[in-house]
């Protein structure tokens, strides 16, 4: 499902003296359907950057990313939007939603985008919110008013709703209590059983071991010091 080859990424900061910060070099791995792979490495090594590149949120500069049939380097904006609607879910580290939209709507929206009719989409949204222990009294309220853990659970419900064949999870179990963590791990297992290819970041080693089949150390793709110097000379 995911096929990543020779992926490199650097950030050029034009207003900080034009420095170029290389983040990773020659990242390559692939993930099949029904498989869950964990990205590991210390904070700042570029794990979230990999997920953002896969989601098209960061610009692909060098290398190749194929998700399903879509070659991200050749895809235009519309292809990427269609992929996000139908193929690829992303549970970001922090919930980012528009103000004044109810929790139920926030969770239903991606399923509607994926083409599910309103009634079943709402049913599944309610079901997920219930499983994740968000009290029905809060469903009509914007999640922006919620606690961190509640927001994270809404975020997971949102990402799990459409049952995408490919999923990106950025710290899905962070800031959750034991019970909710177990529910989230169960949802991830369920997605795997349904054939989803999953790439996740889990700081919690126990969670990682519970759901992941393999680990990929992103630190291994760190650009060497000499690579930085070369970039500076260019």
């Amino acid at each position: 499902m995911f096929e990543i080859r020779d992926l490199s990424k650097s950030f050029r900061l034009h207003h900080q003296g034009g420095i170029e910060i290389p983040v990773m070099n020659n990242v390559g791995f692939s993930v099949s359907r029904g498989e869950c792979v964990a990205l590991t490495g210390p904070s700042g090594v570029g794990k979230s950057t990999v997920l953002r590149l896969l989601y098209g949120n960061y610009l692909l500069q060098a290398g190749q990313i194929t998700i399903g049939d879509l070659d991200l380097g050749k895809a235009n904006s519309r292809d990427i939007l269609a992929m996000r609607h139908h193929q690829l879910g992303y549970v970001s580290q922090f919930l980012r939603v528009l103000p004044r939209i109810s929790t139920l709507q926030v969770v239903t929206e991606p399923m509607r985008n994926a083409g599910m009719p309103n009634a079943p989409a709402e049913r599944r949204a309610k079901d997920l919110l219930e499983q994740l222990r968000i009290p029905p009294a809060l469903w009509g309220i914007s999640p922006l008013t919620f606690s961190g853990g509640e927001q994270q659970r809404v975020n997971i419900a949102r990402g799990m709703g459409p049952q995408y064949p490919a999923l990106l999870l950025d710290e899905p179990t962070a800031s959750l209590d034991q019970q909710n963590r177990a529910t989230v791990l169960e949802l991830i297992r369920e997605a795997k059983t349904n054939g989803a290819a999953i790439i996740g970041i889990f700081h919690d080693a126990a969670a990682r071991e519970a759901v992941c089949d393999r680990e990929i150390d992103v630190g291994a793709f760190r650009p060497s010091v000499s690579a930085c110097t070369v970039n500076e000379h260019q």
């Binding site: 034009h14 207003h15 098209g56 960061y58 610009l59 904006s77 990427i80 528009l98 004044r100």
Partner: protein
């Protein structure tokens, strides 16, 4: 799939000054394109050129017309273009006073566009006007009041109702939330987002407010000194800007 609207290399000079240069994009049904840049960047010039309000020096504009397919707008006759701008296209001005008739009742403002496209039955026109007032969250009881008695936010919603009543497929918006209170802005953006989703509208929205783009747009285009300096998915351009000017814009936003 052909685009609904295609803009090809639009260039406009003001004397020897560049208004906008070589702007091109396609837009498909249901898509929202945000055009951002500081004042003087050429974004309003471009919007006025592509919405047939300003002549331009080079380039072509194509529209997928309901009755005759993909057409170069330059090949249409004047009445055909006027009809198009009253039916399939709409323009929401920054200042509602530019898009409304201030001395005509709210219902009359909405009804006028319907009458322009051939509606004649008074009862039907009034019913449609009342329906649209409710859709944009205006009390239908104020249908006979003049827009001059409305607040700025209400006037803006009335302008939107007036524009949407003929079910256009493409809407141009120039700073639709400019000059409104933050709370009113959020409500208006909410409303616009809902309408775009329900009706599958294509929208070109010009704004200097990056939050509006993040909230409404799928794709965005950044302009500086008349040139398009960056285009892409809205969240990608905002989260990983490449051009120095875009980086400056994005890093200049105040965090609340």
């Amino acid at each position: 799939m052909t685009p609904l609207f295609s803009v090809n290399n639009i260039t406009k000079y003001y004397g020897s000054q560049i208004g906008c240069a070589g702007a091109s994009f396609d837009i498909y049904p249901g898509e929202v394109l945000g055009i951002v840049g500081e004042s003087g960047s050429g974004k309003s010039t471009l919007l006025n050129c592509i919405s047939d309000q300003l002549s331009f020096d080079e380039g072509h504009i194509f529209f997928d017309m309901q009755d005759r397919g993909f057409c170069n707008l330059a090949n249409l006759t004047e009445p055909e273009r006027r009809m198009l701008s009253r039916t399939d296209m709409a323009f929401v001005h920054q200042n509602p006073r530019d898009g409304l008739r201030m001395t005509v009742s709210a219902g009359g403002n909405i009804g006028e566009r319907l009458m322009n496209t051939g509606a004649r039955h008074y009862g039907n026109i009034r019913t449609a006007a009342a329906e649209w007032m409710e859709r944009v969250e205006l009390a239908a009881g104020r249908i006979d009041d003049r827009p001059s008695t409305f607040s700025g936010g209400m006037q803006q919603r009335l302008q939107i109702a007036r524009n949407l009543v003929t079910a256009p497929r493409l809407i141009f918006m120039d700073e639709p939330t400019g000059g409104l209170d933050v709370s009113v802005q959020a409500k208006l953006l909410d409303l616009l987002r809902g309408l775009v989703q329900q009706l599958g509208l294509a929208v070109v929205v010009v704004t200097h407010d990056l939050a509006v783009v993040r909230m409404l747009a799928d794709r965005m285009m950044v302009m500086q000194k008349g040139h398009v300096v960056e285009t892409g998915l809205a969240d990608q351009v905002l989260d990983d800007p490449q051009h120095p000017y875009t980086q400056l814009l994005v890093s200049s936003v105040l965090q609340v």
